[in-house]
């Protein structure tokens, strides 16, 4: 598999349209890889493809919105949904990207157990045999576990989680759905998000972010992977996705590049609860 990816990268460089390609490279630790930015053919040698390629490669393209040449990205299933997410959020242009899709074999990341899209949804060239996809029954297991608790137990469960949160904003910086130019938390002069590190401010941050990305979350699991304090961040957004499924019909985000967010549109005969 790795040689096919390397050949795809070399072909991309020969075409002359691609400025750099984002992939993975080894680190001094056997169980960790780090994103690699290949600018020329020699860099392609450093590319690796193993079960430790857990970093998402897609969001780095956001930092280079007006590239002279195309940005090459090697996409696993979830990365391709991240790219689709950012394109439908009008943050990336499809013509600026050269997408090398690779059918994923599942990585060393708990989210891969419930992955429903090992085959990339969007690509210029595909490597590997497309697999049949189906939504994992375990998708909302975590949400149901919390729903089974009493309200006070639920609150205390989340209170302990938000006591741990150290507000490093790694979950925001890695999330492809969190792609605002200036995040509300950075405009702290306006008082939306306090700077204090206490449970209350962490709750406001946690809930606001869950609500901002809830209807566009592609369930890539990066937020839970990067959280240094291991908070169950996904179960907040998956709660919203579960409600969206129940109320507005089955949805999976980031599958096409013209997908309007659920809260960005409406339907005249939505369920009526507030009469």
């Amino acid at each position: 598999m790795i040689n096919e990816i390397k050949n795809a990268c070399l072909k991309a460089f020969e075409s002359g349209e691609v400025g750099y390609i984002i992939g993975w490279q080894a680190t001094r630790f056997a169980d960790k890889t780090t994103p690699l930015f290949m600018r020329s053919a020699e860099d392609v040698e450093k590319l690796v493809w193993n079960k430790y390629c857990v970093n998402s490669t897609a969001k780095y393209a956001l930092e280079d919105k007006y590239p002279e040449k195309k940005i090459g990205i090697i996409l696993r299933g979830c990365d391709s949904r991240a790219v689709a997410r950012m394109i439908s959020d009008k943050q990336l242009k499809r013509e600026n990207l050269y997408l090398i899709g690779v059918v994923c074999d599942g990585k060393e990341d708990p989210i891969c157990a419930t992955c429903s899209h090992k085959t990339p949804v969007i690509y210029d060239v595909l490597i590997g045999q497309p697999t049949t996809e189906e939504i994992s029954p375990e998708r909302f297991a975590e949400v149901e576990k919390i729903a089974a608790m009493t309200p006070d137990e639920r609150y205390n469960y989340w209170a302990v989680q938000y006591d741990k949160c150290i507000r490093c904003y790694a979950c925001r910086n890695v999330c492809p759905a969190c792609n605002c130019v200036e995040c509300y938390a950075d405009q702290y002069r306006t008082g939306w998000q306090g700077k204090a590190h206490n449970r209350a401010e962490n709750q406001v941050y946690g809930l606001t972010r869950a609500y901002h990305v809830g209807d566009r979350c592609i369930e890539c699991g990066q937020c839970e992977r990067v959280c240094p304090m291991n908070l169950p961040i996904m179960s907040q957004t998956r709660k919203m996705l579960k409600d969206i499924n129940d109320l507005f019909g089955p949805t999976e985000c980031g599958l096409t590049i013209e997908e309007a967010p659920v809260l960005g549109e409406y339907d005249l005969n939505d369920r009526e609860e507030f009469m």
Binding site: K32, F37, N173, V174, P228
Partner: protein, 326 residues
Amino acid sequence: MLLPKEKLSEALGALAAEANVIAPVKWEGDVFFMPYKGGDVCLEGNGKLPPKDVLFPKTEKMYSYSIAKGTMTEHNDAAATILFGVRSCDAASIERLDKVFLEQGYKDGFYSAKREGLAVIAMGCDKPMATCFCTSMGIDPMKAEVADVQMCPVEGGFTVEAVTEKGKEIVKKWDSLLDKKSKAKPAKVECSLNINVPEDFEKKLMDMFESPIWDDVTKACLGCACCTYVCPTCYCFDINQDVHGDEGTAFRCWDSCMFSDYTRMAGGHNPRPSKKERLRNRYLHKLAYYKDRHGKYLCVGCGRCIANCPAHLDITAFAEKAMEVE
């Protein structure tokens, strides 16, 4: 002198009677320095977060005021604390913070009150983790810099050695528990991760301010504050007000040089606009600026930033790449 392993919780219980004891305890799946309430202590590896928030809390009230009455009351209630289970790297970080908060220009009233009330019981390291590299930063895993009591794990218990007056008082409290005859000595320990830092590495780093190495070293960084908030020697803070109508409280809280508004000025100018300048400033502060000012590296080799970085960046990989640049 040796404190047998099974007597440890009894020893800590004795201390907890008079002062509040902070010890590494397993909570929610990780080890954290938390108030000790009986039960056993977890001495594998190191705390997920450093013990620095005993001296430099995440959020700390400074003073409350009433706008109408124009009155101002200071909050500086520091209780005597005993910090148990501090590894040599974290103890070295306390020494680095002391230089900043107690000497550099002014004495910080909040920090110094807590520091005087603190007794440090250091615990040597017999099994360093894969990401530890304290020996490369000139730190002896078995001898902590600011320890009041130095303990080292040996066969069947811990050697105990009082270093300062405070330490002697603590050891006196443990008198009945100690086995005075044992001559056990801790074994020499070497970290698996090593970088040999050359002489005046900081001068070379400071001359590399414009070098192109910074572009590809910082490219994979996500610009989050994970590395700064798990780092034992990061001491940047922000000052803010919590205002409620007529009265308010000024507090200081952790801040990170990796945030976008850290150096953004009122007019909007920002000398460090992107993650490249910020990460460069962070690496240089750890490996150059602090040494240029105080003679010691600000990085104590605890490896927490390597273990927790979402993009798996690594300060030792950067240091090695910087050493190759002429």
